[in-house]
Symmetry: C2
Subunit: 312 residues, 2 copies
């Protein structure tokens, strides 16, 4: 039993609930969804050669190195973002891009998406970010097991942050192929760079998830049904000129301040002429994915989130 100091005990208040709990038979760990996010790609390669590291007695673990072609070219994607390619539409229409093909293969391995009986009970999709987000989870579903695992991780890693993404694209994420799961985002690390510290942090979180799922299968797990999360509110684009080009940079006071509160009047952007542009909303929110390289093309400089106590 690898779960360290975590204590399990029987709580009669949770009894009915936990008697119906799901049994985990198969899980999938995905790396290299984005070809220039090396941490997940190299972890996937390592575990494909060292399967015993991710196997546990009560379930099977499948490791997938997703976008190998993009990895070889050190690009996020070849034709389109794989992590926006797992929508029902793209999974069920003829293949017209490299990533659509990969998404359909993943759906065979993990899904079928939306159906009750799937090949995989839990999906861990490993990502990195150029934003200073530390170890964080990006959750875009409401499944109970997802929240149980996330809450457990936030107890085990007090610095871990949970960001609930509720944008238009959530239904097309790789982890949406399964009924339960999430993306792990660890940063800051440049695209195309393998940083040992980021690699080790990601590896540790995955082992912790596996050990917990093993425990979950065999024990009554009592866990708090409340967890602090950063709940997506809106996207903030860079100031741009009439041609759509950047007219300002993320302000030095905002850079690297992911999961910090932003109050009215705080610096947000710095124009090339040196003018500071400030936050002008009445509600204080929190910046997430601040200055992530991959989001320049998507048209946002950061996300804003509300810090809440989420109960499930």
């Amino acid at each position: 039993m690898h779960s360290g100091k975590y204590i399990l005990f029987y709580n009669p208040l949770c009894h009915n609930h936990l008697m119906n709990k799901k049994s985990i038979k198969n899980i999938t760990i995905v790396g290299g969804t984005h070809g220039n996010e090396f941490t997940g790609a190299y972890l996937a390669k390592y575990w494909l050669n060292n399967a015993y590291k991710v196997q546990r007695p009560s379930f099977d673990t499948q490791v997938v190195f997703a976008n190998q072609k993009a990895f070889k070219e050190v690009r996020r994607y070849i034709d389109r973002d794989l992590n926006r390619s797992c929508s029902h539409d793209l999974l069920n229409s003829s293949v017209s891009s490299h990533e659509q093909g990969v998404a359909q293969e993943l759906n065979t391995l993990i899904g079928p998406k939306g159906e009750r009986d799937k090949n995989s009970d839990f999906v861990i999709d490993m990502h990195t970010t150029t934003a200073n987000m530390g170890v964080s989870l990006v959750i875009s579903n409401e499944s109970e097991l997802t929240w149980i695992v996330a809450t457990y991780l936030s107890e085990q890693f007090p610095e871990l942050k949970i960001y609930r993404w509720q944008g238009d694209e959530e239904g097309a994420f790789v982890d949406s192929l399964g009924s339960d799961g999430f993306a792990i985002e660890v940063g800051a690390v440049p695209q195309g760079v393998l940083r040992a510290d980021i690699y080790k942090q990601t590896e540790e979180v995955v082992y912790k998830i596996l050990d917990f799922l093993e425990l979950y299968n065999s024990s009554i797990v009592d866990i708090d049904r409340k967890v602090t999360i950063y709940d997506h509110v809106e996207l903030v684009d860079f100031p741009r000129n009439s041609s759509g080009e950047l007219a300002a940079m993320v302000h030095p006071d905002r850079q690297d301040k992911d999961f910090s509160e932003i109050n009215r009047g705080d610096a947000m952007f710095l124009t090339f002429d040196g003018e500071t542009l400030s936050y002008d909303l009445d509600e204080s929110l929190y910046g997430v994915f601040i200055n992530e390289a991959a989001y320049y093309e998507k048209g946002f400089a950061m996300c804003l989130a509300r810090k809440i106590e989420h109960t499930f």
Copy 2:
């Protein structure tokens, strides 16, 4: 006069020497040599729209946004590395790649390379790095003016480091098109990211160079003929397996430690199994370009340099 606290005075010992000094008539600032190094690209765009910022009374300043096609695709290059494409061979043969064409255009604007009369007297090529190199100069020529400017900058910015590159490719750098000049490398910043702090540091160094060249044209400049530099010794590749794939990462103790001394027994790499590989040379050297994203494909994890007092 913008040179701040720098004091000029007449030194009779230097008189003969300085009477023969070169007069600067034209200089060139290049940004976007690599399309995913945003600092130089955005500075070039800014100065193309705000030319007065880089003009000085005694010389003309030309600003070049070099690889715009690669910038649009957020890639280092389209076909081949532009900063390895300015060799005599490539400048004087028919164009077979996008970057060879750009190199020949740059040679028209700046050179002709190797000829005495050039269109530009000094070249500043702006780069960024994912390595934690702070503000540094990469010098690959022996021209006196280059070293005078570099020495002046190291006096003005005590944290600035000078790395003298003496590899096989030095003759193909963009700054080799001029008789004098160097590359500025500022980091750490991910590829495809604009960081305001890195942008402002680069901008400040360029303005300092321009102000100094203005001063140089009009005054007798007395400057120390000795400067501390990091002199290239060798390249160190990642440990690789028989297929050429990475078998280890830069060790956490080495990551971000650019321009720090490495002694026998110090940690260099960490294998995916957790084994530490150590430095085994007798001579203590200094790491430079540690874990630079662009050099994975070139086959090195860092450069090793000797710290010396360089006289010129």
